[in-house]
Amino acid sequence: MGVALAAENFPPPEFTTGYQFPKATEPGPRDASLSLVDAAVLLTALSLAAYFALRRRSRRELAILSVFCLLYLGFYRHGCVCAVGSFQNVALAVADPGYVLPVVVGAFFVLPLLFALFFGRVFCSAVCPLGQAQEVVLLRAVKVPRWVDQALGVLPFLYLGVAVLYAALGSAFVVCRYDPFVLFFRLGGNLEMLIFGVAVLLLATVVGRPYCRFLCPYGALLRLIAPFARWRVRTTPTECVNCHLCADACPYGAIQPPNVTDARIGRLEGRSRLAWLVAAFPLILAAGGFLGWQSAPVLAKLDPTISLANRVWLEEHGRVKGKTEASEAFATQGTPSADLYREAAKIRKRFDGGSLLLGVWVGLVIVLRMISLSVRRRREAYQVDPGACVACGRCFSACPVGRSVIAEAEGASISALTPGEEGR
């Protein structure tokens, strides 16, 4: 068993010249302190991003930081460890007691969330290499209609649910597999990754950060937390004059116009919709759970063990001709297929429960999104939506009030907001 699959055809010789067997080399893992360096870089970058975005209000300093993070976390560290994928490790660690969460991965998961709790999405602002990759290619942002923005904004939450399901059941880390940019960081990857990555980058030239807004599952977590932030990005340092320039400058649709005029009419209408939604709440959750449970067989097909078991079964019963690489490898290993079927059945059972929970999650996300659309908040001035704002800093220089404040405070230590770095 073990290594000696091949029989020892040739017994090791007994040397007569006093020959000493060399030892097989076993270089140790990368020094743990080096991975702590990564965590320290992340912490420093997050602190700087918060300082630049909230205190200095400087897009130029954010841009310099973002280039550094793109080079270090992206190209130097090859996009690994990455905060966006780290929630999968956390999900696996929660579900599988045999898996221990590495400290660095834990730090990458929790630090951006903690910062979001105090400073908003400063991680997206200048630290996340995926965000920066889209930021640098943005040429001219097309305004995405609000309803499209709202509808597609549900996707990250659904993606989050799917990714947690697969990670927790140990099948795959879906987010890593379909990461659009990691291929550029590593200068290697498969064709699907390339097509997806190029498509996202092309889209990102005209739509601000499409991956962050409409797909990123970690962004979904940040979006949930950012509204509770202690300190937030503010467009204008003092009073808003309702000039709309900041909303024009924001490529991410994160600045909402005042709605005092239509609030009164919309409120009643929204209230009855809200009542219906609340009444239907348990029903929608139950329906979601049922549909999820029904889709378990489809979802389980992505699990490698289950798909291998299916393939081997089909081959054994003569339903398909030939072998895949995986079934060939399985045959070489000589494990009885009954063992494989038993293992697959075990995983399949866990998929039943997991898919049910996923269905409930999908129902919950949809209902909560509709409820949030039905609740109207009174806005008397232009307001930054803290969940959507990625603190890119474009609106700072767009705000005429901000500029006059700076003109008055000339002489103070403000190097920002020279004409050259106005928001695109």
């Binding site: 560290r77 999968q88 969330l113």
Partner: protein, 200 residues
């Protein structure tokens, strides 16, 4: 803009709301910190790293192409204790070498990463030059098929980035990539009979 933080916000809310928000933030910090702490310190198990189980490996060649690093973090490792020190090594030479000659074109390794040195008649020692090795597994296959299986592919941890999910593991047709404790990061057979890494 040093007085920036002290300026009144236009949308400032009543203080009850602020107190509630502070409580929520505090609870958030506690929950995140606590959950993470318990996950990180749970058990006294060590961190895990990726490794290839040589008993499952089928030398498909994906280790050379699918690693996020180029060249791959996977290299061939020689377990000298298992080796037969053959003169005619099928990890080193192709099966039907022309005229039994020990010329370069009769060698298996595409990068000439295996060094062959004479020990004593009729034994030869084979060493892997890891700088040249690309982890293609061609020699491993030859050794496993005809010899003792002393050449195996292993993830070299001085190179491995220990990604969230190993890119080769995703594409390994034999499911040979496993997470092993970081303290015993190699699945090698170090002793004659069974070493600590000989698989549980």
């Amino acid at each position: 803009m040093s007085e920036d933080g002290k300026l009144k916000r236009p949308e400032q809310r009543i203080s009850r709301r602020q107190i509630l928000a502070e409580c929520l933030r505090g609870a958030g910090v506690l929950v995140m910190g606590g959950a993470l702490g318990s996950l990180v310190t749970r058990g006294h198990a060590d961190n895990t790293v990726w490794q290839i189980d040589p008993s499952k490996c089928v030398q498909c060649g994906k280790c050379a192409t699918d690693c996020v690093l180029n060249p791959s973090a996977v290299k061939c490792v020689h377990q000298y204790r298992v080796c037969g020190y053959c003169e005619l090594c099928f990890g080193y030479f192709v099966d039907q070498r022309a005229n039994d000659e020990e010329r370069a074109e009769n060698q298996r390794c595409p990068t000439n990463a295996i060094r062959r040195t004479f020990v004593e008649d009729p034994y030869f020692q084979y060493d892997i030059d890891e700088l040249k090795c690309i982890g293609c597994g061609i020699c491993v296959k030859g050794c496993k098929t005809f010899g003792n299986g002393s050449l195996v592919l292993q993830v070299r941890h001085d190179r491995c980035l220990n990604c969230n999910e190993c890119n080769i593991a995703q594409n390994c047709p034999a499911n040979a990539f496993v997470r092993v404790p970081a303290q015993t990061p190699y699945l090698l057979r170090t002793e004659q009979e069974e070493g600590p890494g000989a698989k549980q």
